[in-house]
Point group: none
Chain length 241, copies 4
DNA sequence: CATGAATGAGCCTTCATTCAT
DNA sequence: TATGAATGAAGGCTCATTCAT
């Protein structure tokens, strides 16, 4: 009977809850430490090249501890990648919501959000879209599924635009969303193709314009002029070598 | 007897040349054996996951022999990738030449060729565009340079189209070539995104149409109708999930 | 309660210190295990012929552990050699101090100590003075320096003897010390040249006598009769074949 | 019947003999090529560090050919060493004979010859007296035996000197010969102990003087003054560090 | 005789993982 | 919980040796 112990019991229960919470917080903090260290270390070398020992040192924890939070090395990589996927999802959600009701604006906002995260987390991006082949079958499936999920918001906005007759009726909505995702991911993998002064914003504008010109109904071109003709004064600027 | 001696000398010289040639042929055959085995094994696992022992076994040669043809493990990967790059270059050259004088047709032919090779060499494609981060600095530079080279034909065709006033004058030719290359490479990496009955031809048609709609001058749309509206009867077909 | 907290704090600090000490002791023990095994195995085969696997087995530790105590194979050899050098230094110091004030007696004591260690550590001695050529430049320099250091005490005693006018004034003191060192090392390398019943003591006596007869001032011969005419009753004993 | 074949037979026999001789000469030439290359390559690295491939290249023959002249790698080393031993034997014989009838002069001449060869063949010397431990039991025995043989001439001269009452009667002749040999070999192994301007001649003079002072009967000191007090004007010159 | 391509056992080293403390 | 010492399988690479030509 809980009451039997009286106030003391209550206190202890509270203590327990508090202790539990402390543990949780610490666990989350540790996990983040490890994931951040992983991203830091795996930059430019791939996760195969990083040892658990090195990861532990970078994260300032013991090797053993990593194994108490993650099942093994592969789990760490999966966690890094899922973390990135979640960041993308969250950023897209926020920026698309902030973009207002216009579906085309929302589509571009989602693409911009995707690209922004890829730019900020370039290392993790490389990891995600390059190392997936080295993971086990199961892990690979989880990543594919996660990627598909992030396609959703883009696809939805495209659908809405189509429903509002903003797009040419031959537009392939699935392919549009797919291409946007690919081009976003590409920024992390291939940004070295661009001149040094090229940044993610110019990239977003240029690629969004490219795809919008392709799918926007001619009648809408004037309305989305700012998206279709970015940097109007810089026409003809050369981008990739 | 001068003739006899002469003949003998000649014969010996010929022998040497023949022997040399035999060696060369054998060397090329061995190299191919190894590269093919590498592509076979590295499929879906990354080159870090493939041991030289396994490679030797798959190629049906001894470990030591691989080291007499390649400087080390990394060299094998670089060779695989450069091999692929060369196949792409050669396929593009051939198909673009066969496409005739029309620069837009040639551009699409180049893209189609790129995609075809990526489709046929899906494994090598994965290798190429995923493993580059795990190579040494120098090897990475060679790969980047090779990639840039294959951008050339596409860029040239685009330029020609622009010079012939076939494109909208806001088209970013560098970006166009870049996107074509990216989308071609993407087929190898992400074809699993598409339905099972989707094949590389539909992919080429759909992506080419997308980009052409974006860059073709409105006045040219009718002329390139077959490229812009592929599979006219299949409108609305869903492609990506 | 301050005391309790203080005590606890103290206790923990003590624990840490104790833990640290335990680690240190264990590390030293492991190191010794490996060095001893190395000496055992490298006897008569050279360190190139001993694999790290074999060393690990002989030392009863895992291969990996050796690498956590030594930087690599070469480091193990260097450690073995430096260990021997230190034993020699320490034995010479002790025996020379025990030999009293007479510089000639001290010189002989130093030589005897050097020989004793070489006799006891015959295997290590072989390693030391035979394998040096197979080490890297840096390791070789360290060994040479260490050898030079052990020359010091002998040279000093010789100097003192000379200063006390105990030696002929044509004696080359550097060469004397050098020869003593060489002859001591030689015992480990070439003792097989001597009959089976020949032992290190006879060797020391005979060689010391040889060199003393060469450098002692004639006036001192009587005083050091016991050193110059060892085993007076065994005159003419044959030593080397 | 040899005659039956007549002149022709004779001619053929001669041809055969000539051919045989040509083969022999070539074989000797090849052998020398390999041995020289071995000494060149093994300098400062030990024979374990030299591959047969590298040896073949340095000797400008094929790997297979080495195996037709030597049983294996170890045989090459043994041959190198035996070659050195033979050079020493031959040099000692010649120089001792040239030294005339005086046994002390002959002893010193033998020592000088030994040292000279060691100086000229420093690489081979290192090989011989350092690598022996890495050879098989049998090879080691052959080397020991060969070393013993070279002790002979020195021992004989010492004996003769003793018989002529030139030495103190407490002199240990075996040890004397042994020490001479050791000190000769030492020059190859430890010459780095001496100053740069120190050469083999000073070394020979200094060491010979040291040992002679030890064993020469006092009455003979004047007679061998030139050997006992080398470089009379350079008294006190410092030699070893 | 001579060649050198081919072999494959074995080496040094790394590192994911475990477990006693 | 947290640590990090310990393990040992496995990997890249070398090289002594063989043998078809």
């Amino acid at each position: 009977m809980p009451d039997a112990a009286g106030g003391t019991g209550s206190a202890r229960a509270t203590d327990d809850r508090v202790a539990q919470e402390i543990r949780d917080v610490r666990a989350r903090w540790r996990t983040r430490q490890v994931l951040d260290a992983a991203v830091r270390l795996m930059h430019g070398s791939g996760f195969q090249a990083v040892s658990m020992q090195a990861l532990a040192k970078e994260a300032d924890v013991s090797v053993g501890l990593i194994y108490s939070y993650f099942g093994g090395k592969e789990d760490v990589v999966v966690a890094v990648v899922l973390d990135l996927v979640e960041q993308i999802r969250s950023a897209m959600q926020e920026r698309m919501a902030a973009a207002g009701a216009d579906p085309v604006e929302r589509l571009v906002a989602g693409f911009a959000a995707y690209c922004s995260v890829m730019d900020a987390q370039r290392n993790a991006g490389l990891l995600t879209y390059r190392q997936s082949g080295e993971l086990g079958q199961q892990a690979r499936l989880r990543l594919k599924e996660a990627e598909r999920v992030n396609l959703g918001p883009l696809r939805d906005a495209a659908q809405e635009a189509a429903d509002s007759a903003l797009l040419v009726d031959t537009a392939d909505l699935d392919l549009l969303a797919f291409d946007l995702m690919i081009l976003a991911q590409t920024w992390a993998l291939k940004h070295w193709h661009f001149p040094d002064d090229y940044d993610v914003h110019r990239y977003v504008a240029a690629q969004a314009a490219t795809l919008l010109r392709s799918v926007l109904a001619p009648a809408q071109h004037e309305r989305y002029r700012h998206l279709i003709h970015p940097r109007d004064t810089e026409q003809g600027s050369r981008t990739a070598p």
